[in-house]
Subunit: 443 residues, 2 copies
């Protein structure tokens, strides 16, 4: 009988082996994809792409088992040779090729010049050829940064006593109500795709006190903008026993601080590739919704058209204001008007036209919505009634409150938007592997 | 201007404070939900439920600001008092209550006796009252174990150089084809929900070499069994530059070993609550599909009806065989018949009726399907043609291979099934917070 013991012996050199100075002038066996070939006549530089980065190999004519003409971009290869010091090569070394094993060969030339440092291609082309365009080193780096943000979110919250949950994406009804839901037939019953894990994460606060989820959400919003996706990844948390909705803002600030430290530590290479300067998150200003509108109106001579609404241009100006006045990249805008928030938002006891809620703006774009929720059963019923909403389909959500819930609140962060702002991109699609919008369902 | 700096001052005692011996005989302020009340006349024991566990508080009549009759199960409270040593209480201590602040009160009594150690309630009732039934300590512990498995999957793979990806759940076409897809209208275009991230994770192997995803998948399978969910969480990975499909099995074994260590270290409390004995994963036997059928047929005198299919009973018997003969909880079954695998599975060059693939059985139940994939464009086209399948809708997947891909393979683990088998439960719904099956779309 054969047994697997969790180990696997590979003869190929690891990245650590390759960049280890002790292995200079020694034999190495290196795998990778052929990223580019520069044929200089007597020698050819064959740059390999690996997950860790680019690596230079050199084919001297007449010394290997292949000629440069047999090699093609997008081949995957295993090469043996000697590691030599070479100042001008990345990592200060190169492999002098002795033997090449071709693992796979492309059937057609690449449709995009992915070996260019900056991929000067339209967004449309980048998205149409997604599995090719992301092989570009800078394009690929976007998603390592995104990975870092997700890791930071989970690691930080885990350290704060949160439990990770997985909630269903197919349900009988959405959390926010309204028309922005994708509908489907679920074994002949009407169903919708989750706009957010809102109801479920609240229900789980009564079980685990603090919960988080990182998963897809679906919004059938009928606008195609640079800021919207119809499917995106939401970083959600919900926490019980809060003293104030500001405790949620403190938790988010803690996450952002942790995230920036993690990026600095584990993603320095990608920060360098993308020339990202990390924002200062040591202290994030917080301003009331009405006050923010007033500040922006005064400074930028802009008339307040609707005191209970915030237009995208106003959001951008609030971002600009706090950058100019406080050198702040982020700003919390608090006390959103009640009519702009869902029924479960807790109204401010001081002034019920506003709620105990907030948005977080990052360079003038909303990346988070959060706040305290109603935890009292009767208050919830009153709010539903005041809004003329039906309890139908929400019985099991409401039952949770009937059977006792601690004061609680939480937030949802749009992962792609957070990534986009950190990257300094102006289209959220640059921060999504396979974006879904009104016109795009593929690849 | 107000600023958030990521800190939040709470006066309440943390769990670490409470269980710290240095704080015995000192004042403490404790929050939690009233899990149960035992009124003994002169004293009442009020057991609080917190995310960390249960905690005993004692109300002596006439000493606090409330009487026991004012307290109710499912209230959430903040209590101050003195921490006293008490051998018979959990953690060897209790809080002698001086002051109680009621944070919230339930509107109705609980529908289930969640304070019983074992919740003797039908599965149906547990699922109908999910936000209540999970407040039971044992029920809740299922999902801490599940969290540990997910954490282990991500942490282990991250350490092995994998990149986390988020792929779309709405698409134009499914990876496996066939009838088991939920269909929806996406802005008047036909769309389906992802049965697996298969196509996308393969496409990303050409970018990141190694990728993983933990997310929901959707299967419109028309059977209601104890082993099936119509929406479940899939732990997926895909890796390039493999020497053999067994390298994938080695990686999974490594993950399982890491997971068991993590559970032992961070989830000892839950393992104890649920009386779980962790399986031995130091070495996992591996047997060919045809050999496994033969062994089971011989030992259990069972006629082989179809040499190219494995019935659930046969799976269970294979599990039994390897338990009896090798004391093994897991077994890899390799070389599944080609006709039972999707078109992208790589056939065995030795015998094309079989594939370079495997399932992992845990106590006789399939918890993983994996294998090597076809990476050559022309081979893929031939396989599609041999199966009479159309390329339509797969152009962008196929383009990936046209433009070069390393030899690769991967797997998908059903998180709920893995959890269920570890828990020793006989229904997968016990390992899902909010299960979806043919008859259940709520809560």
């Amino acid at each position: 009988m054969e047994f697997m013991d969790g180990t696997w012996k590979k003869e190929v050199s690891s990245w650590e082996d390759i960049v280890n100075d002790q292995n200079l002038n020694r034999q190495a066996l290196v795998e990778g994809a052929v990223h580019s070939i520069r044929n200089m006549g007597d020698v050819a530089f064959v740059i390999l792409r690996r997950r860790e980065g680019l690596f230079q190999t050199v084919l001297e004519s007449g010394t290997g088992n292949v000629t440069v003409h047999e090699l093609k971009e997008a081949m995957t290869v295993r090469m043996s040779g000697i590691l030599r010091e070479e100042e001008r090569a990345p990592h200060g070394r190169e492999l002098r090729i002795r033997q090449v094993e071709i693992l796979s060969a492309p059937a057609e030339p690449l449709p995009l010049p992915i070996d260019k440092w900056k991929l000067n291609t339209s967004l449309e082309a980048k998205l149409n050829y997604r599995s090719v365009s992301l092989r570009n080193i800078k394009e690929r780096a976007h998603f390592k940064i995104q990975e870092g943000l997700t890791r930071a979110f989970r690691d930080y919250l885990h350290g704060q006593g949160f439990t990770e949950i997985h909630t269903p994406k197919i349900g009988a009804r959405g959390a926010e109500g309204g028309a922005n839901m994708f509908r489907l037939s679920y074994f002949h019953k009407p169903a919708v795709l989750a706009q957010s894990p809102q109801f479920y994460k609240q229900m789980m606060v009564g079980v685990f006190d603090r919960v988080f989820e990182t998963g897809p959400v679906f919004r059938a919003e009928k606008h195609n903008t640079k800021r919207h996706l119809n499917e995106y990844t939401s970083l959600d948390f919900e926490m019980g026993y809060i003293d104030s909705f500001e405790e949620i803002m403190a938790m988010e600030t803690g996450f952002l601080q942790y995230a920036m430290r993690l990026l600095e530590k584990d993603y320095a290479k990608e920060l360098e590739i993308l020339k990202i300067e990390l924002p200062d998150v040591s202290r994030i200003p917080s301003v009331r919704f009405d006050k923010a509108k007033q500040l922006v109106s005064e400074k930028y001579h802009r008339k307040i058209r609707n005191p209970f609404d915030l237009e995208p241009e106003e959001e951008a100006l609030i971002g600009q204001y706090f950058k100019e006045e406080y050198d702040a990249d982020f700003v919390f805008v608090t006390h959103y008007p009640s009519k702009k928030r869902p029924f479960y938002a807790m109204d401010d006891p001081q002034d019920s036209r506003y709620t105990l809620s907030f948005d977080l703006l990052f360079h003038g774009l909303e990346v988070t919505t959060g706040g305290q929720r109603i935890h009292d059963y009767r208050c919830l019923l009153e709010k539903l009634e005041a809004r003329g909403m039906e309890q139908e389909g929400m019985e099991q959500y409401l039952d949770t409150f009937k059977h006792g819930m601690p004061p609680h609140g939480g937030l949802g962060i749009g992962l792609e938007r957070l990534t986009m702002q950190l990257l300094g991109e102006d289209n959220v699609r640059e921060a999504c592997l396979f974006p879904r919008d009104m016109n795009r369902l593929e690849p």
